[in-house]
Amino acid sequence: MSVSHTLLALLERGPRHGYDLKQEFDAQFGQDRPLHYGQVYATLARLLKNGLVEVDAVEHGGGPERKRYAITAAGVSDVEGWLSRPERPDLYLNSTLYTKVVLALLTGRDAATILDVQRAAHLDLMRELTRRKTRGDLADALICDHAIFHLEADLRWLELTGSRLDRLADEVRR
């Protein structure tokens, strides 16, 4: 999963401090692996350097100063590009696709289109493997079948998620 794109997309909902961003990330996506604070601030520093976020406000309290970050126009277009690009169909779908779907729902984008684009990419690879299978020997066919069955599992997940988008939207926006 791309942590920097995910943090950027979460910022699209409104400016946040690094602490709040980490809390929100962990609540939505960090069930198994919460982010370290160090990773959040290092990522924000990089995004700042690349002009994708800006410091929106600095609070001087009793302790160290707290910066509030906001996404820039370049940041929004970076998120847009990332969400609309299909992930490279992998043998095991990682959590990136789930993250993209949730972020699309949170930022008011069309999550169904993300699933459509990914399905097309998966089916294109399945076509390629099916053609290879019919031309190759048995060993090659078995290797292709293994990949095809895994891609098929991903496609079933895409289909099922597509049918549950309304419910998922209700849950993540709660």
């Binding site: 069309d110 169904a112 289109t113 459509d116 684009v117 399905r119 097309a120 990419a121 998966h122 089916l123 399945m126 076509r127 390629e128 493997l129 099916t130 053609r131 290879r132 019919t134 031309r135 095809i148 069955f149 891609l151 098929e152 496609l155 079933r156 289909e159 597509g162 049918s163």
Partner: protein, 237 residues
Amino acid sequence: MTGEAPRPSTGQAPLLSARDLRKTYGPTTALDGVSLDVRPGEIVAVMGPSGSGKSTLMHCLAGIVRPDSGELRYRDRDLITASDAERSALRRSEFGFVFQFGQLVPELTCLENVALPLRMEGVRRKEAERRAAHWLDRLDVSDVAGQRPGQVSGGQGQRVAVARALVTDPAVVFADEPTGALDSLNGELVMRLLTECVEQSETAVVLVTHEPSVAAYSHREVVVRDGRIRTSAGLSR
């Protein structure tokens, strides 16, 4: 990895052309403004969950069901205004059908089943059976020619059904979940033989399936959801 699959030219005039098809059954909207072109030699997979409208779409394209509104043409013929007799004649002479459970006539032998569409078109028995035997051979089921459907395996029966669909040299084959009742190995064999046979002709295939591994034999897919077609470019009307 291999290169791109040879795709039929998109410059060719479509065999089937549907525009803004709508169909309701009582309070249920089965098709809600579907547009689709099918060109010669093209294998188009129609995918979607149960109840999405994919079978209704196939039945409309095949002239089995008349849409409530929209435009639907096969070559230069208007399928919406065509009479039932005209549509029926078209289905016999221009279209071939493969269903999930073969739907062979149980009283006839496999050879007679394959010859049946030709006999209904007035072809003499000897010639019809000669051509039927050729297609049983192409589908590698010559050995069951004299047996009745109840005596052959599911995979063999489905290959006989494919032979019956192709025997009239149709312009379009409509295949509705053609491997739905088969195991992986037999399903794969049916799809491989079907696609090999149509690749050598200009026959188009409209392949209704919810199985991605079957859709992978197509040149392109359209996904029907809630009576509409979705593409990777989003909702298409």
